[in-house]
Subunit: 343 residues, 2 copies
């Protein structure tokens, strides 16, 4: 199929996807019969441009990388904001990658609802809307005969949602546990080597893994959001933030790490959820001392991992990147290829 795509938001993730689409154009056409034209880019900081016949993305990327505004693009209609771009362009598929307030889910939530309501596919790496309204949004997509993909909201381009839905098809998934936050796993890996928590955090901040205010990562809030998403999407439940027990890694000391080592164990921040006999969910984000024989124990650095508990195959674990500009951009291509396959 031939997609007509509009980017709403054009930061590192959107640019990452654009580069992949340019570099892999021929392979995607040949191998998957996947074709696309980018008709619009609208970014609150960088401005916007729309051409119903398609934009030259090499030029767009050049402009953006020079730090210039999209007004510099020689042709096309300028100045359409996100919502207008969704509603009034000929795009059939919206790549929603704005900076979004996790608490309200906005502006992504409104963007996504508007697009689905207008009969346009949406692919997005925005966590907020999925945490808040995954089920409703998926139903809205279905009733409008379009698709809403969000593979990138957990483990970036490591295709865990795709794995659960297709590759593990036929299994009943009864629960999961995983290393869902790269920053904390990076910090624990450095502490394992003898660094103090404070030094490890500083190092994570230097490398851009952790933000100036690291609370979201180190207190387990980011992992908690992912537990909610996985529970609702993969286990088909309707779990609320407040129903997840949570403890971060800030209280883990060098002594705790050493003690675990002497027991042949390793601390990891584990997000998990299990369906109980009565159908309810037990979900938490909590530091756990894992024996080295646990597949999650060997997962170091900023790498993520997720173990699904299935009825037919027992435990199946996938290990892969949990962040990164290109890896997250790639998650959007997974969603686009998925829509392409369905159509």
């Amino acid at each position: 199929m031939h997609f007509k795509i509009a980017f709403i938001g054009f930061g590192t993730v959107g640019q990452g996807l654009s580069e992949i689409l340019l570099e892999k154009k021929e392979m995607l056409a040949e191998k998957y019969d996947f074709h696309c034209t980018i008709v619009a880019v609208s970014d609150i900081m960088k401005g916007s441009v729309y051409d119903e016949n398609g934009l030259d993305m090499v030029k767009i990327l050049e402009i953006v990388k020079k730090g210039e505004k999209l007004d510099e693009y020689p042709t096309g209609i300028k100045g359409m904001d996100g919502l207008t771009t969704i509603k009034e362009t000929n795009a059939d598929t919206i790549v929603e990658v704005t900076f979004t307030d996790v608490k309200t889910g906005e502006p992504a939530l409104t963007h996504i609802k508007t697009a689905l309501g207008a009969g346009k596919n949406v692919v997005s790496t925005n966590k907020g809307p999925v945490v808040k309204q995954a089920v409703e949004l998926l139903e809205m997509a279905a009733s409008n005969n379009v698709h809403y993909g969000f593979e990138g909201v957990v483990l970036a381009g490591t295709p865990v949602l795709n794995l659960a839905r297709y590759t593990l098809a036929g299994n009943k998934i009864k629960g999961f546990r995983g290393i869902l936050n790269g920053t904390t796993n990076y910090i624990l890996t450095r502490m394992e080597e003898g660094m103090s928590y404070d030094d490890a955090l500083k190092k994570a901040q230097e490398l851009g893994y952790a933000e100036a205010d690291p609370t979201g990562d180190v207190e387990g809030l980011d992992a908690l959001g992912k537990v909610v998403i996985l529970t609702n999407v993969v286990l088909g439940k309707n779990l609320d933030w407040k129903d997840v027990k949570r403890k971060g890694i800030t209280e883990i000391t060098k002594e705790d790490i050493e003690k675990a080592k002497s027991e042949g164990k390793r601390w990891k921040l584990i997000g998990s959820a299990e369906v109980q006999q009565d159908g309810s969910i037990k979900a938490k984000v909590w530091p756990e001392k894992l024996p080295l024989s646990d597949p999650l124990a060997g997962v170091g650095e900023a790498i993520n991992a997720l173990t699904f508990h299935t009825d037919e195959l027992g435990s199946v674990t996938i290990v892969g990147p949990g962040a990164g500009r290109r890896e997250t951009g790639f998650s959007l291509l997974i969603d686009l290829l998925e829509i392409n396959r369905k159509l």
Copy 2:
């Protein structure tokens, strides 16, 4: 879609699939619109029965589990051998699960070619035909507009082929390395705990992991077959058995294990293949001392694992069961669901 299925061979794997199809009938219909009737079962030891309107599989399983012949089944046509069943029944899909000579690939190879040539889908857990002729058989399936699925030939029901083809779609897979043989991994795990090689092998034999003649496993031949399959199917090459360097685990001593431990490492039998710059393949099965930070190092017992090296996501690892009656039977359902999705 509604499949009409014939089982060629009806040992533990075929029985495993039958049980899954019975137990999951409603879920498969509801969730995947998957329906099937088993019209024939033909087994060289157990006899055969064919009813174009479908067999009562509860009864069939009862008969087989009592050790009786299929002649005891009250109705239907008896005595058709494998080839006749493939050619002369109304089955549209053949489940090929005979005991097969790995060297010649027979009788599975003839069964599969006959079925594909007759325009019937094939799903099979037989390694022989895939090692010998994967590319030809897939082309034959395509030119006859049918499907040939063999998810179970590597890592049983852990869906590595499905993962490579669909879930990692859009990536270029440049190579892989993995723990492809459960028996040797079980032996190494016991040795890690202090057991000698001989005792660990004996224990593996007691548990049914290793055969009376364990050569195929411990000398790395089984893993080598899987390296050939993965190279040809996932990397799209045409690798021959003879081009794979091979060394088994029989020379690993307790002292080697202890030495590795003291270095913070662990011995694993690793099967790997990498595409080289000139397009050629470097493939081997060889014992490797892995640092505990390697995702494969933490994989113990009879569990298998496979790391794909991709251009977009770097290393992505999947860990899951590599054998088992039910797990291998389930791999056939993965193939059937895949065909169902395509049709």
